[in-house]
């Protein structure tokens, strides 16, 4: 099936108007030896056939929304209110381009302005951009932002060992050609507090996570104070789980300079890892060096309020090689979804969702902590994710949960040994409002029944 409207007659009229005999005449400048290759793609399918195939492929996956799931580690299973998909399914939103012509893009522009406002409110910051690709690329942009704030004269960036390992990887990928140094995560058994001692007059930025990748709430106020005590100018960037901010004091209140994170929990499906949403906020002081699109309010020639893309001189289409970043899009539709999510839940709803996460996670931790062979590591407070020392390998326990336990399928937690070798046989368990009491109790029951012979 091809989405082409022309009749043969119209095609002939068009060719005649152009002054060529056939369509092939329009491709004479393509080297002849390379023209019209045989691509060997699969036989084309009708809409009915492709949907049958895709339904089969979709059914071949285990759906985490309909399976009890305790997996988080950067992507979380939350309830997505029906209004979210209704709004982002509107063609007026999803088939529009970046709002370059503001007069005919006020819908997108105003929604982004509202998104920026809500991200500021949530994080306790003054300025937010229109979003990045995801939490990991937002982390990399935070590094580049700080580098630009110091006009590339400070070269050291300290990343907490408890920052999401994928964020740490992406920071290194992005900066491999830049003349800067990424340190702090050499010893993965260390905490954020341990690495702040490395802050000095050449340090552009310290990057923390709250709650950290291990689910813990490190003492953010103290950490920021320690950075300031070592060097007043060093920026502090903090990655956050946005749902936790329904309950917790935001990093902005502790004096963070940059707050960013993975916005997927704000109304986006798990989608096997994407598209997600990198939210990003900072202070007025540093807004001129941020990357990405920014929407501002202004007036039209008649004095009416309207919205435009602004501060564009930072961007690649004007600065080219001197731009603050090469990014020239945002996650428009995902930012819209998050805006609808935050609007629909609102002040009270988001607080309640956060509280549900907190209480359910603590209930689960209490149950699991009582099981023979399992210990919950509780040296720090946590939000909705916690570490469990297990009596067997996490891979085997997860296999047992998924395939063996009384024909229930349970998707277990994240195997921390993959990225933190000293936490071999430790599972990171995430509990959200989607986990019913029954699911939590079934998990505890299943863990208890992990066979003795498979225990270490």
């Amino acid at each position: 099936m091809v989405y082409l409207p022309h009749t043969d007659e119209e095609r002939q009229q068009m060719l005649q108007a152009i002054g060529v005999k056939q369509i092939a005449d329009l491709f004479q400048d393509v080297p002849e030896k390379a023209r019209y290759p045989e691509l060997g793609l699969a036989h084309p399918l009708s809409e009915m056939e492709i949907m049958q195939e895709l339904q089969f492929l979709a059914d071949a996956n285990l759906n985490a929304y309909t399976t009890p799931t305790f997996l988080g580690a950067g992507a979380y299973r939350h309830w997505v209110p029906s209004v979210v998909d209704d709004v982002i399914s509107r063609g007026e939103f999803y088939t529009a381009y970046t709002p370059y012509q503001p007069e005919v893009s006020q819908g997108t522009l105003q929604a982004i302005f509202e998104y920026q406002s809500m991200i500021c409110d949530l994080t306790g910051m003054e300025v937010a951009n229109a979003s990045h690709y995801d939490g990991a690329t937002a982390a990399a942009e935070a590094v580049i932002h700080a580098y630009n704030v110091f006009r590339k004269k400070r070269h050291k960036f300290i990343i907490s060992p408890t920052l999401n390992p994928q964020y740490r990887e992406v920071i290194r990928t992005y900066t491999q050609g830049m003349n800067l140094e990424i340190v702090g995560d050499e010893d993965l058994t260390a905490s954020a507090a341990d690495v702040i001692d490395q802050v000095d007059g050449d340090t552009a930025c310290v990057i923390l996570q709250y709650p950290n990748f291990l689910g813990q709430l490190e003492d953010l106020g103290d950490l920021i104070a320690r950075v300031r005590a070592k060097d007043k100018k060093t920026l502090v960037a903090v990655a956050v789980n946005p749902i936790s901010l329904g309950l917790l004091k935001p990093p902005g209140d502790y004096g963070a300079d940059i707050v960013f994170g993975e916005g997927q929990p704000l109304g986006l499906g798990l989608n096997f890892g994407g598209p997600y949403l990198g939210f990003y906020a900072t202070t007025k002081k540093y807004m001129r060096q941020i990357a990405g699109r920014v929407v501002g309010q202004t007036n039209d020639v008649d004095g009416e309020i309207g919205y435009v893309l602004t501060l564009t001189t930072r961007e690649q289409h004007i600065r080219r090689e001197k731009a603050t970043s090469n990014i020239c899009s945002n996650q428009g539709l995902m930012a819209l979804a998050a805006t609808v999510y935050m609007s629909a839940l609102g002040k009270q709803g988001l607080h309640k969702v956060a509280a549900l996460n907190y209480h359910k996670a603590h209930y689960a931790a209490d149950l699991i902590d009582q099981l023979d062979g399992y210990t919950v590591l509780r040296e720090r407070p946590f939000f909705n994710e916690f570490i469990v020392r297990c009596p067997g390998t996490v891979a085997e326990i997860n296999h047992f949960l998924l395939n063996t336990f009384e024909e229930h399928e349970i998707i277990g937690g994240y195997d921390l040994g993959q990225t933190y070798p000293h936490l071999e046989n430790h599972m990171l368990i995430a509990v959200t409002e989607m986990n019913s009491r029954h699911e939590i109790e079934t998990l505890a029951e299943a863990l208890a029944e992990f066979p003795e012979e498979d225990r270490l």
């Binding site: 001129r288 001189t313 004007i318 001197k322």
Partner: protein
């Protein structure tokens, strides 16, 4: 196009004027005309060192951004903080209230290499 006859110039359209022991720096009337409505001026901090011919900041309109180059080397002794809230001063009064920084020069001979008002006028004419 107005030209300040007391000033010296760079081909890149900055002006410099001697005031006591300091050199005061801004961009020319021609430059502000070319840029259009200026929306932001990025300036260094007092105490920063600048080198002749190197960018020390930038000036931005809605659709363009241009680096501003130092006419002489030295240490920045003052920046025009009013431009932070009123960048339009550069449009309104480029040789006066729209000044950008003051430099304590480190090499007095650099001054002599700058363009005279007459020479600068020729540069602008040639560009057109």
């Amino acid at each position: 196009m107005a030209i300040d006859m007391q000033a010296r110039y760079l081909k890149s359209h900055e002006w410099a004027r001697q005031e006591e022991d300091e050199i005061i720096v801004g961009i020319s009337d021609h430059a502000q005309e070319q840029l259009g409505d200026i929306v932001y001026v990025e300036l260094p901090e007092v105490g920063d060192e600048v080198a002749q011919g190197e960018a020390f900041g930038s000036v931005e309109s809605v659709k363009a951004a241009s680096d501003i180059y130092a006419p002489v080397s030295g240490v920045v002794t003052a920046v025009n903080e009013e431009l932070e809230d009123a960048p339009e001063l550069v449009n309104q009064d480029p040789y006066g209230k729209g000044w950008m920084i003051k430099i304590e020069p480190s090499d007095p001979e650099e001054w002599d290499a700058l363009l005279t008002p007459e020479a600068y006028e020729k540069v602008v004419e040639e560009e057109a």
